[in-house]
């Protein structure tokens, strides 16, 4: 009991020391001040001189009503209503199919027999999507449109009346399994994937100020290893400090963006628009879930960096160690954005994807077996990384940088 108390006191002492080193003047300015200035300059100044870019969605319905019901028009109305709250997308009605096809933007065209085919159930109805820009974000938009359309159709078939124009809450059950996560998950998927990537990429530099390579360079490892009873406390202390640094610099980024968007009168709404967060669909709890899993991704990124840093004895470890973490984050991001809601097989080995998928499942309220698997994987990888990092600092050559 006394020994356990002593060990927890050691962790406190290590943490106090690491935080002190983090909050020393030069490092604090770099870690906490730099991001604010950078984001303010990158986003604030250009926004003073340019208007916000909006995407245009051209839409046309030639649907001839059938049995007194015009499903095509209902779909158009729903889509228009859905995107009316999104400042980044402007829905423009056009007159015919060639106008839709001629667009350099996105386009939706609903043909004249759309209602007939649905109500008479003689054939599968079809409508046309035009993705002229080949934008990376187009798939999530079309997923949304697809969900809206099917919801309208399902409502019409159930009640034989036009649906009331409203925000779509639930996707139809006929959608493929990977798209069953719902509109909230659809709304958060893309922003979440690039937020995770950005968090990891932007914070990779801050680790070098507090990592083990620094201890090795300062030749303090010998004393640390001699006096600390549980060596994994050295890893835990550094991890907590790195998380504090990362969260602090992330807050600094966000404040920089808020300050920058305030210049243009955007305020807090501006920041949601920058991150592509549709606050009409999402609530505070969803954002909290996103933050929790973002922090979890950061924690894993820190531990990956630390495990490599402590196992490589050369000075290059300071530069090499963040690279693998960023590499994994890039791999996750570029695969995730091709199919944001899909359960990608190529990403099952990527711990950042586990955090991302968990966040989507939690937001969509799907507390199923998949959640348990990803939770178990995350706990296992955290334990493994702490073990490898601890083993690394206990290696014979870990005392000094060679």
């Amino acid at each position: 009991m006394k020994k356990e108390k002593e060990k927890s006191k050691q962790l406190r002492a290590l943490l106090k020391k690491d935080l002190r080193l983090l909050f020393r003047k030069r490092v604090a300015i770099f870690v906490f001040g730099g991001p604010f200035i950078m984001m303010f300059l990158l986003i604030g100044l250009p926004s003073l001189f340019s208007s916000q870019q909006t995407m245009v969605l051209l839409i046309c319905s030639d649907d001839q009503l059938y049995s007194g019901v015009n499903i095509g028009n209902a779909v158009v109305d729903n889509i228009t209503n859905y995107f009316s709250v999104d400042p980044s997308i402007e829905v423009q009605p056009v007159l015919n199919f060639s106008a839709v096809k001629g667009t350099e933007n996105f386009g939706i065209y609903i043909p004249s027999n759309f209602s007939f085919l649905i109500i008479s159930e003689t054939d599968t109805p079809s409508y046309f999507e035009v993705d002229a820009t080949q934008s990376l974000f187009s798939e999530s938009i079309f997923n949304t449109i697809y969900a809206i359309t099917h919801n309208v159709i399902a409502t019409v078939l159930a009640n034989r009346t036009l649906p009331v124009i409203q925000t779509i809450e639930e996707p139809p059950t006929s959608l493929p399994e990977e798209q069953l996560l719902g509109p909230k998950a659809a709304a958060i998927a893309m922003p979440l994937s690039y937020m995770i990537f950005l968090l990891i990429a932007l914070n990779s530099g801050s680790y070098s100020n507090i990592g083990f390579a620094r201890e090795k360079r300062m030749r303090t490892m010998e004393v640390l290893l001699s006096y600390t009873k549980k060596h994994n406390q050295l890893v835990i202390s550094k991890t907590i400090t790195a998380l504090v640094a990362s969260l602090g610099s992330t807050l600094s980024y966000v404040l920089g963006i808020v300050a920058a968007t305030s210049l243009t009168g955007g305020g807090s709404e501006g920041i949601f628009a920058i991150f592509g967060l549709n606050m009409q669909l999402l609530n505070v709890w969803d954002i909290i879930v996103v933050v929790i899993f973002g922090v979890l991704a950061l924690l894993i990124s820190t531990l990956i960096t630390m495990a490599i840093d402590s196992n490589i004895t050369r000075e290059a470890s300071e530069r090499l160690s963040p690279l693998l973490s960023i590499g994994l984050a890039m791999f996750f991001y570029f695969v995730a954005m091709t199919n944001p809601l899909g359960a990608s097989t190529s990403l099952v080995i990527n711990p950042f994807y586990w955090c991302y998928r968990l966040a989507l499942l939690a937001i969509s309220g799907k507390f199923n077996f998949e959640i348990l698997i990803y939770l178990a994987l995350i706990i296992a990888i955290i334990g493994l990384l702490i073990f490898f990092a601890t083993r690394g600092i206990q290696k014979e050559k870990s005392l000094y940088l060679e």
Binding site: Q10, K17, R20, V223, T228
Partner: protein, 259 residues
Amino acid sequence: MSELMVESKQLTKYFNSLLAVDKIDLKIPKGKIYALLGPNGAGKTTTIRMLLGLLKPTSGEVIVNGVNVSVEPKSIRGEIGILPQFSAAYYDLTPMQNINFILELNNIPYDEVKAALGEYFKTLDISYELLNKPFSKLSGGEQRSISFIMAAITNKEFLILDEPTSGLDIARAKYIRSIIKYLVEQQGKTVLLSSHIVSDLEELADYCGILKKGKLIFQGRKEEIINEYAPDSQDFEDAIVNAFGAKTNIAQTFMGGSK
């Protein structure tokens, strides 16, 4: 020899194919100062790290204060006070913050050692102003003095001091030697001293162990090393130089045969 603080049996360490320590049988009595000597690269640091449990011996065993470090390296953690060869302090923290860190890491309440710290500061001429400057702004001697205090204040029964007076001015070196003597003679501590400074060794060492190319070529009382290696001159420095296998006649040439 009295009861032993350190006893190694056939302690051996290889780094890949390089033999760093070769079957040494170290015997460090409790309550004494044992000087571990040897030319650069003789294996002193490797031996010290094996005592601390930081390096695993390739073969043999080492028992420190009753703990078999080769089998239970975890048990020795926090039991030995250490002054490494290089100042193991954080350059961005102040000396006081560094000392507090070591105290907290060793679970020593500040109040318990406040008086002793005051004595150390006074003896080694460390002012209040100095204690609150960043460690990096201190002179080499001041840094070494603070590092020494950081090791001594841990109040461990066994202290390993690697070059404790290196870079110190004559006065501070003398004071540190006095403190080491006080710790051993008055408080019964055991000190393993690694130093190249003859005055330290002459004044402090009760026992000497001489390492050469990883082998412990001599172990015994200071007088014994003089009788063994410099029977004619009875000079401790000559004895060490002879034991290292250096050519004393070159020194004699340059010193006009004064040695």
